[in-house]
């Protein structure tokens, strides 16, 4: 599966060197089409910057760009209690990520290294959970976690960990499978011991997979909206996660678009940057078990 994400460089070069003679014009047509599409994907999010920097007294103007630009929506963001929401979202995302890694590392390692009864059943269970989303069982989640009586933040950590476990198990399983067991055995013969072989050989080699699982889970939990909305209902705004708190700028009669998009940028820009690091590997984790 890893080979699908990293094609052999030799094959690529060969496939592309053939039509080199008529390359320049064709390449530029392709490039320009791609640039236009890239701009289309970017523009809605640039619009967040435009709106966040539009002064409040210009919110009613039908202009594409504001006449004046201001940073006041960013500087007054903290007085709206957003700091607390960022903290809550960080707690939820970090907590879910730690749990996912602690739980998925042993499971992925064991299923990659050993053949035992129930292994296929376990992997099938994991694959099936990847197909179920919280929206499909929201009533059950809400009633179960209300009965538990846990604080909403802790409930959200557990729920987010559960629904993102599958991605992590699959991608780590693929990485561990690609590391030859002989490598660990050789290290053990050299006197590293089992723990040493795992921490000094296997885990560093699987690091790209671990980083991918880590960032993916963090982003998914950071962005999660539906369960957060359901379980943090009635909390004070500063204790609600960011995705829910942003909606508090929407009032019954008017919307505080300036603060809303300033907060939106705070919520969005970090995860886009994080996502760029794992961009190439995410697909293999999401489609694992099916694409060969």
């Amino acid at each position: 599966m890893i080979t699908t994400t990293k094609p052999a460089p030799g094959l690529r070069a060969k496939a592309r060197s053939a039509p080199r003679s008529r390359r320049p014009l064709r390449t530029w047509v392709i490039a320009i089409a791609a640039y236009v599409i890239a701009v289309i994907f970017l523009v809605p999010y640039l619009e967040m910057i435009v709106m966040a920097m539009r002064p409040n007294n210009e919110l009613g103007l039908a202009t594409i760009l504001p006449e004046h630009w201001t940073f006041s929506n960013f500087t007054t963001l903290w007085s709206t209690g957003l700091g607390g929401s960022i903290g809550t979202s960080l707690e939820i995302a970090a907590g879910a990520t730690v749990i996912v890694l602690l739980v998925s590392l042993p499971a992925a390692y064991c299923t990659a290294r050993r053949r035992f009864r129930g292994r296929a059943a376990f992997l099938l269970l994991v694959l099936a959970t990847q197909m179920f989303q919280p929206a499909a069982m929201l009533v059950g989640i809400q009633r179960e976690f209300t009965d538990f009586g846990l604080p909403p933040t802790l409930s959200l950590i557990i729920v987010n960990a559960g629904f993102n476990l599958a991605f992590s198990v699959w991608i780590l399983n693929a990485f561990f499978s690609s590391i030859p067991a002989e490598l660990e055995e050789a290290a053990m013969v050299d006197g590293l011991g089992r723990v040493g072989a795992l921490t000094r050989i296997t885990l560093p080699l699987a690091a790209p997979g671990i980083v991918t699982a880590l960032i993916f889970t963090f982003i998914a939990a950071w962005n999660e909206f539906l369960v957060a909305l359901t379980l943090s209902l009635g909390q004070s705004p500063s204790q609600q996660p960011l995705t829910v708190a942003i909606n508090n700028y929407i009032g019954e009669y008017s919307v505080d678009w300036g603060h809303l998009f300033a907060a939106g940028l705070v919520a969005t820009v970090p995860v886009i940057i994080l996502f760029a690091f794992i961009e190439r590997r995410v697909v293999s984790g999401l489609t694992a078990g099916a694409v060969k």
Binding site: P7, A136, A290
Partner: protein
Amino acid sequence: MLALRRLTPLLWLGPAIALIGVVVLWPVVVMVQSSFQQIGGEGFVAGYNGTTNYDNLFHEPDFVSVLLRTVIWVVAIVGVTMLISLGLAQLFHQRFPGRQVTRWALIIPWAASVMMTALIFKWALDPNVGVINVILHHIGVVKQLGSNQADWLGNPTSALIWMMAVAVFVSLPFTTYALLSGLQGIPGDVYEAASIDGATSWRSYLGVTLPLLRPAILVATLINVINVFNSFPIIWEMTRGGPGYETSTSTIYMIDLKQGDVGQAAAMSVFNFLLVIVIVLVYLSTTRWKEQVGR
């Protein structure tokens, strides 16, 4: 001793199984149980009431139209997404200067919260000052700002079309990437063989690329179907499923029912859940997860 050894995998897998049990499996049990109970909006359980929730649900005047709309919602969004993504994947598979930068732009709607994207479009479609309306007014499509024509989200049909467009927009990055990874798995010499046989680029796309992309297309389609079926933030932020239930899908309908009648919402959830199971079964039977597992 041997029996003990056989149990060691359980030590490694136990935490994962426990987590899945608590977060994914037990809620299903609670949900099914709730669907046979009378529960008020506050969550107070008044006792079992047999199949009353299901009877009520199936006799809701909006039930059939919501289901039909859900089918249209899923089929249209996934279909359009797949078609556009096939083109995008082909384009971004080429080598050109600045490709990495354009691919970063492509992932933004994937990385950003769908809720935020929905809010951007909700604002951009504001009848008076939304930037889409302002631009459409400039080029003469919208005759007057603030008119009924500019109130795209107030009319169920145009609201649905705009929301489907947003759903396609946020589904494109994953789908394109899934197809790109499929394209990268096709060895170059397959194309060389095709071109030696005299196949034109369009013929070799239909005859070589598409069949070899089949697994990637299949997986991307099914993952999209699940995502779009369960999609919540777009409709919730842009129309709340209204006016009435005229822009509700079954997921939104269930969440709205939950405000007043948890038992009936549970019945709707069970119904949705069975649909998801059918989709998952189709998924498992058409894909090669067994090969992957047995590797």
